[in-house]
């Protein structure tokens, strides 16, 4: 067993884990934060995307022990004081989800796209940047709209971004 200590959604956590434990298993099974999902076993679907030190990563590609000392944000850590993050609100407003299973990973990736590419995102950019996230329900049409709207809303809510 190995000890891992990190900060998840602003709270310090520490646990003894089997060294082969993936970050996504640690988040889901040890911390019982089940909003982060597993949709494949080849790092293709993006359902498990979380932020590690502010960058989007597929939590199925990292061992928990590799994240020792990092700051991890999961989908549960986005809303602040009962207020949805602008990207969460945009997915709801633009019907960017159906079954909801890919949604946490989509939202975490979308925020990362905005962090990297800015708040004015065109359709081509959004579609290209969503390469690593699969959705089987929406045909991506409304996800693209939601990401564009969420990106703009994030520009108007700098405090929210800072909180993340």
């Amino acid at each position: 067993m190995a000890t891992v200590s990190l900060t998840v959604n602003g709270k310090p956590v520490s646990a003894e884990v089997d060294p082969r434990t993936l970050l996504v298993q640690f988040v889901r099974e040890t911390l019982r934060l089940t909003g982060t999902h597993v949709g494949c076993d080849t790092s293709q679907c993006g359902s498990c995307v979380v932020h590690v030190d502010g960058e989007a990563v597929k939590a199925c590609t990292l061992l928990a022990v590799q994240c020792d000392g990092t700051q991890v944000t999961t989908i549960e850590g986005l809303a602040q004081g009962g207020e949805l993050h602008p990207m969460q609100a945009a997915f709801r407003e633009h019907h960017g989800l159906q079954c909801g299973y890919c949604t946490p990973g989509m939202i975490m990736s979308a925020i990362d796209i905005v962090n990297r590419k800015g708040n004015a995102l065109d359709e081509t950019t959004i579609r290209a940047e969503l390469e690593g996230n699969l959705c089987r329900c929406t045909g991506y049409h409304n996800i693209v709209k939601a990401v564009a709207a969420g990106a703009q809303a994030m520009a108007q809510a700098p405090l929210q971004q800072a909180a993340e």
Binding site: R20, G35, G39, Q44, T103, G139, Y140, N142, I143
Partner: protein
């Protein structure tokens, strides 16, 4: 229309939990003391099992128990069933082989279930499974449906000679032959409808939980129809009596048909839970999903269309071989028969149709319903034929369709169906306008100037949804009725719970069903909760598939609401001291007609429960009503999808430039949700046409068993879609709803392939039209065409 009533694009009530990570899917549940199951699967497509030695594995760390087919047989656990009886044209019943949940003596496809290890952790179960020694006698395998019927092919099941489960037919052969005999032109095509893997992003999962105190079993499962799962597990597989088995299907992450069926894994988990006296959990990984979720499609078809001298369709003759895989999955036999051939008339007035369908066993994963289920296959046949026929006789494909459309309703086709309502010409006109069809030639020339081949393709589909009138499907071999149930419980404070047998796994029932209640009872949508997916809460239900939740499920709710209003009037009559016949209900108020005496819905609910204003002899207290709704006909959504695309002949890459969809879904409850359903359906249909294909090699290995190998559509593969509607209300249900869930997947493949063949100038392209396939096909395109 109120802000939350019928027709309003209400934002979804369920989204708050999904966008915050608070959804509760099966794998998010953990039961105290839970152990984990891992299935040892066959690495061979076809083999006799000489022996299974579990002794070394059983001694490994954390192992709780290991079970094989022998253990299930010893406990008299029944095999998995196929719930639809098909008779061959000679009258004989279909030849179904045994389908044990764990193999007994033989394995028949790669991924077939050989043994289950129950251990403290998943990792320990996997480690132990590797230590199980299975002695296989490997047999030759057959993976192709047509090859399976040839003499000398390996036999998958002894009972099915030539691997043929049924030789079924539909329609009038003599009348059809006569139509062909007088035809001026006959168009012939051979098509393969490629095998697909449904791939909802949530993999299947199951937890069996046994309570020895009261001998109750609970199964948490990723199901589209938990009551049907309970019925089958109880009545046919013999897991437990129905009243001792609770099935919970909580949030389910997409289904597309693949979560209708009752699979080996949940059967074994719920049985093993009692066996080991602990909860047993299994969650599929993606590779297991590819290997063992029921696949879709896989037809090989020869089809002919007879035309008169004016381009009118005289007849249709279709022969299809449907690959059913190694076992008959729950509804597999109905998909290539009664969900397929009755739709071959498309939206056209065709006097004579004759279809023959052979269902065959192969050494591949079972094939069953996948979004559209039979109707995409039928649409691909008729819409490819229509396009090719129009081209061969030199008629514009839109004109050809217009000429042959059904114009009056009801319309009886020669293949069972009675189309009840539609207006195909208006839909086509709207689609042509939205697609700017008249300027396509200019756009094609512009593409040619940059060395690209531009094409346009139509798909004027029809589907039969709202599945289905119980008596009708019963006469065709269905083992169940296909009505739906609802219960509307009004609480003393006026808030409402609606219990429904429909199941939401992305469709947004918690919103649309609440809209209906809000609309009819004049209450706030926030005071309505939709309860589904738990057999302990909802008495019975048939679940969600075949675009039936609106047309059938909501009709049941509407019926129950009518009963609530009728009971409310009785209560109001006592409260308002008027006769029941004088009470009117409108906008959430009970009013004595012609007076200003009224009581709000919530006040009457309270009065119904406190029962101070009437005696028990006059009226029962309470306000709760149930209804079962059995539809009187299928519904017939129809529409026109137009795909415009560009091919780069140097790379074979296809780029979809415009997608226009005009659909007639009848009355729409929530246009935002309906459009979303269309988008998703189109994406799956485009996936089938351009990207997706499940391929087995000759030895029966699935070579497309991960998202690395099986090409799922991604965001950059698709354009934004233009989605519009026309409305002819459905006369066959009280709400006028036709259904929308499958339309895109039904329409899209033909539209894409018709556009590609239009661009290429020849018909020689198969699905999936991958860049390699398109590049090869483009090499056959004459230079003249390319430069045109």
């Amino acid at each position: 229309m109120t802000a939350t009533g019928i027709g309003a694009p209400v934002r979804r009530k369920e989204d708050q939990r999904f966008v915050t990570g608070q959804g509760r899917y099966v794998d998010d549940f953990n039961r105290p003391g839970q152990a984990h199951a891992y299935f040892l699967r066959s690495p061979h497509a076809h083999a006799t099992i000489r022996s299974i030695d579990t002794s070394a594995a059983a001694a490994m760390p954390g192992v709780v128990a290991i079970f094989t087919g022998e253990d299930l047989a010893r406990d008299k656990v029944g095999g998995l069933i196929c719930g639809w009886m098909i008779h061959s044209k000679d009258g004989s019943p279909m030849k179904a082989g045994p389908h044990p949940a764990l193999a007994q003596g033989k394995v028949r496809y790669v991924g077939d279930h050989v043994a289950v290890v129950v251990a403290e952790t998943v990792s320990q179960a996997k480690d132990a499974a590797e230590a199980i020694v299975v002695d296989y006698d490997v047999l030759p395998a057959v993976v192709d449906g047509v090859a399976a019927q040839k003499a000398g092919a390996p036999q998958v099941h002894e009972v099915a000679e030539d691997n043929t489960v049924f030789r079924w037919h539909l329609g009038d052969k003599d009348a059809t032959d006569a139509a062909f005999a007088r035809a001026k032109h006959v168009t012939t095509i051979d098509l393969v409808n490629n095998r697909l893997v449904p791939n909802p992003i949530e993999p299947r999962a199951a937890i069996g939980d046994y309570d020895p105190g009261n001998e109750n079993l609970t199964l948490y499962t990723t199901s589209q129809n938990p009551h049907v799962a309970r019925l089958v597990l109880s009545a046919f597989i013999g897991i437990a009596p129905e009243h001792k088995l609770r099935v919970i299907a909580p949030d389910v992450g997409g289904g597309f048909g693949s979560k209708i069926f009752i699979y080996a894994e949940e059967t074994v988990c719920v049985w093993a839970a009692r066996k080991v006296g602990r909860p047993v959990k299994w969650t599929s990984d993606r590779t297991e999903a590819f290997l063992s979720d029921a696949h879709g499609r896989d037809h090989a078809t020869h089809a002919e269309m007879a035309l008169d001298e004016n381009g009118r369709i005289l007849g249709l003759r279709v022969q299809t071989v449907a690959n059913l895989g190694a076992y008959l999955s729950t509804f597999s036999s109905s998909v290539p028969t009664y969900l397929y051939a009755p739709l071959l008339s498309g939206s056209y007035d065709i006097p004579a149709i004759y279809a023959e369908v052979d269902g065959v066993y192969t050494n591949t994963a079972p094939v069953d319903a996948y979004r559209g289920a039979g109707r995409p296959e039928a649409t691909f046949v008729i819409e490819r034929l229509a396009e090719v026929a129009a081209r061969q006789i030199g008629m514009d494909p839109a004109k050809f369709r217009r000429k042959n459309y059904v114009r009056s309703f009801p319309h009886q086709t020669p293949v069972i169906m009675t189309y009840d309502a539609g207006d195909y010409v208006t839909t086509l006109d709207k689609a042509l306008e939205a697609a700017d069809y008249k300027n396509f030639g200019r756009r094609k020339r512009e593409s040619a100037r940059s060395g690209k081949l531009r094409g346009i393709g139509f798909s004027s589909y029809i589907e039969a949804c709202g599945i289905a009138p119980s008596q009708a499907v019963g006469s065709l071999g269905a083992g169940v009725g296909l009505w739906e149930s609802a219960e509307v419980r009004v609480n003393p404070t006026g808030s409402i719970e609606v219990l429904t047998g429909s199941h939401s796994h992305g469709q947004g029932h918690e919103t649309t069903f609440a809209q209906l209640v809000s609309d009819r009872l004049g209450v706030s949508i926030d005071s309505v909760s939709i309860v589904h997916g738990d057999t302990d809460k909802v008495q019975f239900g048939m679940g969600t598939y075949g675009s039936r939740s609106g047309a059938v499920g909501m009709s049941a709710i509407a019926k129950a609401i009518d009963k609530v209003i009728a009971k409310g009037k009785k209560v109001a009559a006592h409260v308002l001291e008027a006769s029941e016949g004088d009470i009117e209900f409108k906008d959430g108020k009970f009013t004595v007609a012609g007076t200003d005496r009224s009581a709000a819905f919530g006040d009457i609910a309270l009065q119904a429960y406190i029962a101070h204003k009437f005696s028990g002899q006059d009226l029962e207290p309470g306000l709760k009503e149930g209804a079962f709704y059995d539809p009187t006909n299928f519904t017939f959504p129809a529409g026109v999808h137009i795909c415009e695309l560009e091919i780069d002949p140097d790379t074979g890459i296809v780029s979809i430039e415009r997608w226009t969809a005009v659909d007639d879904f009848g009355v729409i409850i929530n246009p935002m949700i309906v459009e979303g359903q269309v988008h998703g359906g189109i994406a799956q249909g485009v996936g089938q046409a351009l990207h997706e294909g499940a391929f087995y090699d000759a030895s029966g290995q699935l070579v497309t068993a991960s998202f690395m190998d099986y090409r799922m559509p991604r965001a950059a593969d698709l354009p934004s879609f233009v989605v519009e509607t026309t409305v002819t209300p459905c006369p066959s249900n009280p709400l006028g709803i036709k259904g929308c869930g499958e339309a895109g997947a039904i329409a899209a493949p033909a539209a894409v392939i018709n556009a590609i063949t239009d661009a290429l100038g020849h018909e020689d392209i198969a699905m999936p039209a991958t860049p390699q396939n398109v590049w090869r096909a483009a090499q056959k395109t004459p230079m003249r065409m390319a430069a045109e």
